[in-house]
């Protein structure tokens, strides 16, 4: 399959190599290691047979659950224009753009991607993507540690638990002290006292729980004692929220799924990473720069390469090599398709619809833990165990949200949800949780 050789081709190749069979290629491999009977795997399927196989596997997923789950991944509308342009084979099947002369397409898009993210967050330098939101937080902490040579890491507890788990895996806790700070009334405490032991302060805007605050004062307090401040954003809210740059943050990271990638069961998505130029040499991953070619024509290239693993090896700023370029291409095209008005509308409509939903829930005597300071995402209280409610809601066609605690569900509303879906959700929840 996909091997193109005819018998005539094989004859020509075997003659060139003076061999008579494929086995003759491996006389230098110890006989005890060779697979004599081959692999124990199923027989080949034609494409036609594969269609029914994979369609049947896909049909085992519950179809068309209406998505009220968020927590970093959002059911934002992904236009066909963005999908089809991103999936052009010239982008999708190309390699890393080391050869600039034949890679200007990808290089220019990545330059645009970096620029768009800088504009959107008020930063000066973005890299060309990291794996996802969670690993981007860990990479940002690592930059702060390398910059400050300090051991403390202050992380807001208002993060997706999975993100915190990734941080705990990737930051060596035998060397660095990660302090998780509880939110008070769903807000990071304004009077938190940072110390000169702290390398990094990491906070989410909005918080995982859906609440949002202006973090300017907290950032100022952290920076006063030399802490590197890191803001994790929800890109689909950036049309409506103040920029992390305007609040004074040093580094911005994000789960970029909502800009340009389908939900994809969580991957592939893209981790955004942007910062100020003074941290340039500590930035993980690839960076694209603008230059001129030998004829003085505008040209894009990978730059600051001396940070990367293929050159610096164990002294590199990160081990990252393969990244999430195609998803970054998706983010670029999606942001350009949206424009200022479109990105604003995604945020505005999500918040309006969430407000409507919260009011309706309260009117139907369903409690919300944080009704007032939440935006598009909030916590609904359940009388039955949250897990059971989620399963029963699933049976009624809704992905009700993400379990937040034993009796709480984190619910997210995007611009895609309609009044009718929200109304039906509430009716279903009443049926499910009243029994």
């Amino acid at each position: 399959m996909f091997v193109p050789h005819s018998e005539i081709d094989l004859k020509k190749m075997f003659e060139e190599l003076s061999i008579s069979s494929l086995d003759d290629l491996f006389t230098h491999i110890p006989a005890t290691l060779k697979l004599n009977d081959g692999l124990n795997v199923p027989p080949t399927l034609s494409e036609l047979e594969s269609i029914s196989h994979f369609e049947s596997v896909e049909s085992k997923n519950t179809q068309n659950l209406i998505c009220f789950a968020g927590g970093g991944h959002y059911d934002v509308y992904l236009p066909h224009t963005v999908k089809t342009l991103t999936m052009r084979p010239e982008f999708m099947t190309s390699y890393t753009p080391y050869q600039a002369e034949i890679s200007q397409g990808i290089l220019q898009i990545l330059f645009e991607y970096q620029s768009l993210i800088c504009d959107l967050t008020d930063m000066e330098l973005a890299n060309a993507s990291l794996y996802d939101g969670a690993t981007s937080v860990a990479e940002a902490i690592s930059v702060a540690i390398n910059k400050t040579k300090r051991n403390g890491v202050v992380v807001s507890n208002g993060f997706n638990p999975n993100t915190k788990e990734v941080v705990n895996t990737l930051v060596d806790r035998s060397k660095f002290d990660i302090k998780y700070v509880d939110l008070i009334d769903y807000m990071f405490p304004e009077d938190y006292i940072f110390t000169e032991e702290d390398a990094a302060f990491v906070v989410s805007l909005p918080h995982y729980e859906g609440s949002a605050q202006d973090l300017t004062t907290i950032v100022k307090n952290a920076k006063a004692v030399g802490v590197i401040t890191i803001c994790y954003i929800d890109p689909s809210m950036m049309g409506i929220l103040k920029t992390p740059g305007s609040m004074g943050f040093d580094i911005v990271v994000a789960e970029g799924q909502s800009m340009g990638s389908p939900l994809s069961f969580g991957g592939p998505t893209v981790g955004w990473f942007a910062t100020k130029k003074e941290l340039a040499r500590l930035v993980p991953g690839r960076i694209i720069g603008e230059t001129r070619d030998s004829n003085h024509t505008k040209t894009y290239v990978m730059t600051l390469r001396a940070r990367e693993q293929d050159i610096r090896r164990e002294k590199a700023s990160s081990n990252i090599c393969t990244n999430q370029t195609l998803n970054a291409v998706g983010s670029t095209i999606h942001l350009s398709w949206l424009g200022p008005q479109g990105l604003y509308e995604i945020g505005y409509q999500a918040i309006q619809k969430a407000s409507y939903m919260k009011q309706q829930l309260l009117d139907h005597d369903i409690n919300i833990s944080n009704p007032n300071n939440s935006l598009r995402e909030f916590i609904v209280q359940t009388s039955k165990p949250a897990e059971d409610v989620i399963i029963e809601m699933g049976n009624k066609g809704f992905l009700a949200g993400i379990k937040y605690s034993d009796n709480e569900i984190l619910v997210a509303v995007t611009e895609k949800r309609t009044k009718s879906e929200i109304d039906k959700y509430i009716t279903s929840l009443q049926e499910v949780d009243n029994a």
Partner: protein, 501 residues
């Protein structure tokens, strides 16, 4: 040239530079439209809300489509031409996988959807795990690592935790060949190990005597790819793994070169304890201009409980998630690059036994044939039978005509080929590393060799200015010093560049 359209035509056109999307922006234009708000408007007061609109380009949908389509025309790709790119396995990416990856709930499941509602997705991961552990000779796998380097780090963190739990925290040395991929030492460092480099012998393989001298009670493990980065099978692999195991270390297989041995032999049978696979290399998922990839890690049974969790298990009610008891913790926010894993499964199903049993053999056949033809033009680095890739060198041409590997690569671009990997492995002077993969025809291989011969003759000409190559592409050789000095990394900096030049 007979391979028609593949290698013999020039796929990329030159012309004027493409403006950026920002330069195409005009106030008031837009591509996006949304439904009217269908709920009553509430006043929203929150101190984090901005008063102005975000800064983004304003373009029409047609302008947007033309812009990104023109950029597509300025990009080489597997669907456009031949990448003889060593260590990267740039094989054909089956189009059919695009169809499957686009199916409704594969593409659109929220990652927090409970297992009850995502039985199909879990079946995909379970089925792929079965293929992968059979191909590599291991017992269990995780799909969380989104790329090879993340897989390496996963493996090293597993080694670290395993040693800690067995009271062997003193073991801090990870041995890495001097020919290894850069990610190996970078990952070992990230995991908190000391990197110890073992040298390569004259035949191009791990220097066994050197290895013996480096191994001691502090040895945590060895990272190795087999075939190694010179494209050679480590014939003493059993001795190597015994040396490490006898000293209580574990051995890690860097799966970057797995394509060479699929169906031929298995890392698990060679003594490797942990293996990562690059699904975007061996299993034909598209590279996406540098990503996404997927770097699943497979382990022997005694390491299962250390895997990042949750992993998929099959029980009487179907599939479910299981959290390994001594897990190193998550390596990814959710389940890794699921759609990449799905594409790899599509590829494996299409190949089946017939295709997988011969995959490595045909990859090696193509490389061995190309090495034989190219060895008549420029010398090979090692006089050994190559596996799926091989290294040639132009160090003699550099001495005689100042022609560097870089120049050869650039001249090849002009002729419609991607450059081979150059200057890698680092231990070979003026290295050109070729990996044709099994999906190229013998005609394309012949065309590459013929073209290489012609350009080497051309570059030796008297009035040749090497810096002028490539000549026929949208841009010529970039000045790599400008951005490093002036760091023009976003369009807001454009004027800075103009001023400082």
């Amino acid at each position: 040239m007979h391979s028609g359209g593949n290698a013999s035509s020039l796929p990329l056109v030159g012309g004027a530079p493409e403006p950026t999307i920002n330069q195409l922006s005009k106030p008031g234009r837009r591509a996006s439209r949304f439904p009217k708000l269908d709920v009553p408007v509430t006043e929203i007061n929150n101190p984090a809300i901005r008063n102005d609109k975000p800064s983004l380009p304003e373009v029409s949908e047609h302008d947007l489509v033309m812009h990104y389509s023109r950029l597509a025309h300025r990009n080489f790709a597997v669907d456009v031409g031949f990448y003889p790119l060593g260590s990267c396995t740039m094989k054909y990416n089956p189009r059919f996988a695009d169809y499957v990856a686009g199916l409704n709930t594969f593409a659109n499941s929220h990652p927090a959807t409970p297992a009850t509602f995502t039985q199909g997705n879990l079946e995909v991961l379970h089925e792929l795990e079965k293929f992968l552990i059979e191909i590599t000779g291991m017992d269990n796998a995780t799909f969380q690592p989104p790329a090879g380097a993340s897989g390496e780090l996963t493996g090293l963190l597993i080694i670290k935790k395993y040693l800690e739990e067995n009271g062997l925290s003193n073991k801090k040395d990870i041995i890495v060949p001097d020919s290894a991929h850069g990610t190996n030492p970078a990952s070992a460092k990230m995991a908190g190990f000391n990197v110890v480099e073992v040298s390569t012998d004259i035949r191009g393989m791990v220097n066994i005597e050197d290895l013996r001298s480096l191994v001691n009670e502090n040895t945590a493990g060895l990272m190795l790819t087999n075939p190694n980065t010179g494209g050679l099978f480590e014939e003493n692999i059993m001795e190597i793994s015994n040396i490490i195991h006898e000293n209580g270390g574990l051995i890690y297989y860097d799966g970057a070169n797995l394509n060479a041995i699929v169906g031929v032999c298995r890392p698990g049978d060679m003594g490797f304890d942990i293996v990562h696979s690059n699904l975007h290399k061996t299993f034909a998922t598209p590279h996406g201009g540098g990503g996404p990839g997927s770097g699943p890690v497979a382990v022997k049974g005694f390491l299962k409980e250390y895997l990042p969790g949750p992993i998929v298990v099959k029980n009487s009610n179907g599939y479910d998630w299981y959290s390994p008891k001594s897990s190193i913790g998550r390596m990814h926010g959710y389940h890794g690059n699921f759609l990449v894993a799905l594409r790899a499964l599509v590829y494996m199903k299409l190949l089946g036994k017939e295709g997988l049993d011969t995959l490595g053999s045909y990859a090696v056949l193509n490389a061995r044939y190309l090495s034989s033809v190219i060895s008549k033009i420029i010398p090979l680095a090692y006089n050994e039978p190559c596996m799926h890739e091989f290294v040639a060198t132009v160090k003699d041409l550099k001495k005689s005509h100042k022609i560097k590997a870089y120049d050869v690569g650039k001249a090849l671009l002009d002729k419609g080929f991607h450059s081979p990997t150059i200057y890698f492995p680092l231990i070979i002077e003026e290295a050109l590393m070729f990996e044709p993969t099994e999906t190229q025809t013998v005609d394309t291989l012949d065309d590459l060799a013929e073209t290489l011969k012609l350009i080497i003759e051309e570059l030796q000409g008297e009035d040749v200015s090497l810096e002028e190559y490539p000549k026929n592409l949208p841009v010529g050789r970039p000045n790599e010093l400008i951005p490093a000095k002036h760091l023009t990394v976003n369009w807001g900096d454009f004027e800075l560049l103009e001023l400082t030049e």
